[in-house]
Amino acid sequence: MAKAFFIDTTLCTACRACQVACKQWHDLPAEETKNLGTHQNPPDLSFNTYKLVRMNEKVIDGQLRWLFFPEQCRHCIEAPCLEALGDPGAIYQDPDTGAILYTRQTRQADADAIIESCPYHIPRKGPDGSVSKCDMCNDRVHNGLLPACVQACPTGAMNFGERDAMLEMANKRLEVVKAKYPQALLLDPDTVSVIYLVAFPPENYHEFAIASREPSGVTRHMALRKMVRPFAAALSHLG
């Protein structure tokens, strides 16, 4: 049975336990960062950073909001990166969990094509040319554990389980949240395994919070074909 995440950003406090837990489980090296005038750090996802809590200050309807977006690979149900590459030795889907998994063989593949294909701007290239991203903690999941980021989350913002259960949880929570934030919506819930609930229009959180709107190049076109339906759905949510 496919798994899914439900990430309720209205509960996220940007404690970043998830971000550190991800590094710890995967033993990923820290990046040498500087403070760039924000608490968000590292500034972006990278070959060694699969999970990043994005932090944005926005004034919405005259009120200051500090919006947090714990970002990771969406494990798309029909993943554009997987289809773009078409090489199951380098990118494949675990039939048990639905995880989209990259292998070291991405080094031999066209890294830029993989990166270009992703409508959420997730995969990143390493110094040796291979490509990396969140792996759903597939090893943990197969051993009955929660993904490291979910396990670490103190507020209940991160949830993980069977897709049906997560969808149900997401829809229930959406109803509740809407009373306070009428613009609240789920991001691309039908096409991804990482379902975000946001209180405000997604562009306030991150440019690629929903599948990107302006893809270019052939592979992106292919991606777009897949994404047209949810994109339209998201737009209709925006009213």
Partner: protein
């Protein structure tokens, strides 16, 4: 905490003020979130919009150091709009007590002020007594000298307009907060406060908290589920170390440290044991002599006898009128009067106010022992910035301690839960548990003193038998803390056997030397049934409010919510039946639910007639009532707004005293302070971030955490940045009268200029976790280079939350 972490979920309103729970107590937010899911309103008051604010339903800003003005306005609002819980106030607080003629307040000073001593004669604030020696009361609340009417008069001045001009909080925001919080004066509503160092680290720290206690008493929020006054402790075991006498003025179990002018145990007991002439006041501290003798028996074992006053003479004594707090220690050290120093599990070169003074002070020592996980800015102070190693004679010894997870023992969390932890991995290298180190130190001292020395008795007579197989045994210490029967003793029908552990609790402790107890509040934690703190029961109590009474063990006597008798009406029936804590079972003649504050029946019988066997609810106060009027503090029975030592305005807008008239001020050349000086025009404050801990010793060398918060930063408003031509992300210099620190500017909408008394005042904020040892650049320094050495007159905690700085481009 009067309540505990899980209990936060029971609140209807949560006020987070003087703390930043989402960032600094992240796990607490699990329960805050739970409360919000249940429909609770979250209010956050903070100079800066934080990650906590991002989750709040109501956010209000205030200038650092103006909390009493803010809360005084709330008291006035509650009184003006009669939002208080009148029955509770009458039954459980001293609102109806008549205050003696000696009390008065004028121009920012209470009666009894002595300018030379910078202190008050507190005896002038006493209650008026009847001929039996019981405080006079006026239950009609008409007497103009009753506490409620004095309270009204005192806070008359705190109009929202005046408060707003002091705090800089827009009036509309004040009203929003007052209204939401004040709405919990209803019997079936509860509000809680979560505070931390944002309230304590001020010259008015204790009075900040007092203000909130008074509000909680007025609204009937003490003793109830989802209520209380809740200090969020900054370390997993701060509660435990405070309980066990970490501070200079208390011995374990909150027993006052004796002073040199108290020559005997009899005089000590006479002076420190409160007497109540009201038979219905439990006046629990009347038992103090039992706790003191049991403690002495625990310290000195068989050597402590009735003849030698159980070794009272061997206890260290304080000089009268002298304080021995952090500020005072480093002041004395700076003045060259301390030769040796154990820096144990701390990093004073970064963590204390006015770090330059602290670092200079350490250069005057002959020797220092640094017991820590790693070398730190303290152990290496002699090679730190501005130091010339060739000139420093201090000899530094490093004793490596192992980390908490490498040893067995207990911690006591903010909710007073003592929780046992097991050893995980073995200690690394030659590092050892603190217990090992201190035990061996004691044994070596005994050897040295065996050959004589100054006053060897205290050391030689110390019972020091906590070794098992040549190693420190945490179980032996835990049992010692619980206490033993030392002789066979029959009480009622029960005979207690010598050598058995005292159980179920401190009610059994004796003043005749027949019991020992290392800390009376922990009596009952380790009994012949086992180590109560190691329990991990998952079942809730019958009231289903999240007490989980068999998970770990809470002091006192496993009571999870203290003052819980006040959650009931005088017949012992809960004010809120849906979230009841305890209730009186009249047929079974017992309380059910949480462990009640004492076994006595409620003050009234089911038919409303008084029950003489009943006791008042606030058993730890002499009179038995919650103190809206608190005559026991050094700075007055009602909180009053005073400006911090360093502030941006010439005049206190509320009264004629600019700063607290009793706060300590130090006079060395390292203690410069400036107020309203154009060289330091901005209010500065310090805080923590989620990603680092304390002075940063455990987090700054950790690459994953350093990645998240790599550098010292200063947060400032867009307005201030524009005025000073500072760009986001640029390095700037933040300076105070005492030092300077390089920071990266975070220019943010989350700080806003304040309008104070008609002027625009800017505030900036800096984290205090950095120091020059890590990161390796050596460029990131401690915020405490800027903070002043002054503090609260009661606790002497430093005022590191409000001071004056300048910010310039580098």
């Amino acid at each position: 905490m009067t309540n505990h972490w899980i209990d936060l979920k029971n609140a209807d309103v949560i006020l987070i003020m003087g703390s930043n729970a989402a960032e600094n107590h992240p796990i607490s937010f699990k329960w805050v979130t739970e409360a919000q899911k249940n429909g609770a309103t979250l209010i956050n008051v903070d100079p800066r919009f934080t990650r906590t604010s991002s989750k709040a339903d109501i956010y209000a800003s205030l200038r650092s150091g103006t909390d009493i003005a803010f809360l005084g306005g709330m008291i006035k609002y509650i009184l003006d709009n009669k939002l208080y819980h009148e029955e509770y106030m009458l039954n459980y607080t001293n609102a109806s007590f008549i205050v003696g003629k000696g009390f008065g307040f004028k121009d920012g000073l209470f009666t009894g002020y002595d300018e030379k001593k910078r202190g008050y004669d507190q005896s002038q604030w006493a209650f008026e007594m009847d001929d039996k020696g019981v405080p006079k009361k006026d239950p009609t609340l008409k007497n103009p000298r009753c506490v409620l009417n004095l309270l009204k008069k005192h806070y008359e001045r705190y109009t929202t307009k005046l408060v707003s001009s002091v705090t800089g909080t827009p009036e509309a925001d004040l009203l929003k907060v007052y209204k939401a919080y004040g709405a919990t004066g209803k019997p079936d509503k509860a509000a809680t406060i979560m505070y931390a160092m944002g309230w304590t680290q001020h010259t008015v720290g204790v009075q900040n908290i007092r203000s909130m206690c008074m509000i909680q008493l007025l609204l009937g929020n003490m003793g109830v589920a989802g209520g209380g006054v809740n200090a969020l402790r900054g370390e997993s075991n701060v509660q435990g170390s405070t309980d066990h006498g970490l501070l200079f003025h208390i011995l374990p179990g909150y027993l006052p440290t004796p002073s040199a002018s108290i020559p005997s145990l009899a005089v000590y007991n006479e002076k420190n044991t409160p007497k109540s002439n009201d038979p219905r006041s439990a006046n629990w501290w009347q038992n103090r002599p039992k706790y003191v003798v049991s403690l002495l028996k625990s310290y000195f074992g068989d050597k402590a006898t009735a003849e030698n006053e159980f070794g009272y003479g061997w206890l260290p004594k304080l000089d009268d009128g002298k304080a021995y707090s952090w500020l005072d220690i480093f002041d004395t050290m700076y003045n060259g009067k301390i030769r040796g120093f154990f820096s144990w599990g701390q990093n004073p070169a970064c963590s204390g106010a006015n770090s330059n003074k602290t670092r200079q002070a350490m250069a005057k020592l002959d020797w220092m022992v640094n017991v820590n996980l790693f070398d730190n800015e303290t152990g290496s102070f002699w090679r730190g910035p501005g130091m010339n190693p060739a000139e420093i004679k201090t000899e530094v010894f490093m004793l490596p301690a192992c980390v908490s997870v490498e040893k067995e023992g207990s911690i006591s969390n903010s909710g007073r839960w003592m929780q046992w932890r097991y050893e995980g991995p073995k200690p690394m290298g030659n590092s050892r548990p603190d217990g090992d180190i201190i035990l061996e130190l004691g044994l070596r001292l005994k050897e040295l003193y065996a050959g004589g020395g100054a006053f060897p008795d205290a050391i030689l007579n110390l019972k020091w038998d906590y070794l098992t197989n040549h190693k420190y045994d945490p179980h032996k210490v835990a049992k010692e803390i619980n206490g033993y029967w030392l002789v066979d003793k029959k009480i009622g029908d029960v005979t207690y056997k010598a050598g058995s552990l005292v159980a179920p609790g401190f009610a059994l402790l004796q003043a005749d030397g027949s019991t020992s107890c290392g800390n009376w509040v922990y009596c009952g934690s380790y009994t012949d049934k086992g180590n109560m703190s190691a329990r991990r029961g998952q079942e809730d109590a019958p009231n289903n409010i999240g007490l989980y009474p068999t998970f770990a063990w809470a002091w006192p006597v496993n009571r999870r919510i203290i003052y819980n008798r006040a959650s009931c009406d005088p017949k012992g029936q809960p004010y809120n039946p849906n979230r009841w804590v305890v209730k009186w079972d009249a047929e079974g003649k017992k309380w059910v639910g949480d462990v009640p504050d004492g076994p006595w029946p409620p003050p009234q019988n089911p038919d409303g007639s008084p029950n003489e066997a009943g006791r008042y609810a606030f058993i730890m106060t002499k009179e038995g009532f919650g103190q809206i009027y608190g005559p026991g503090l050094k700075d007055g029975p009602f909180p009053e707004h005073y400006e911090p030592l360093e502030c941006p305005i010439e005049k206190n807008l509320v009264n004629g005293q600019r700063m607290s008239p009793v706060a300590p001020v130090y006079g060395t050349d390292a203690d410069a302070h400036m107020t309203c000086d154009p060289r330091f025009p901005y209010v500065g404050t310090t805080y923590r971030v989620s990603e680092h801990w304390q002075s940063g010793l455990m987090t700054r060398p950790q690459p994953w955490l350093l990645e998240l918060q790599p550098q010292m930063f200063v947060e400032m408003s867009e307005e201030l940045a524009a005025m000073r031509g500072i760009k986001n992300g640029e390095r700037v210099l933040v300076a105070s009268a005492r030092g300077e620190v390089k920071c990266t500017a975070i220019v943010t909408k989350r700080f806003k200029p304040f309008k104070i008394g008609g002027a625009v005042i800017h505030e900036v904020g800096i984290p205090w976790h950095f120091g020059w040892r890590w990161p390796e650049s050596g460029e990131e320094e401690s915020a405490n280079l800027l903070t002043p050495s002054t503090g609260d007159p009661n606790t002497r905690i430093p005022e590191s939350k409000a001071f004056m700085v300048n910010v310039t481009k580098l």
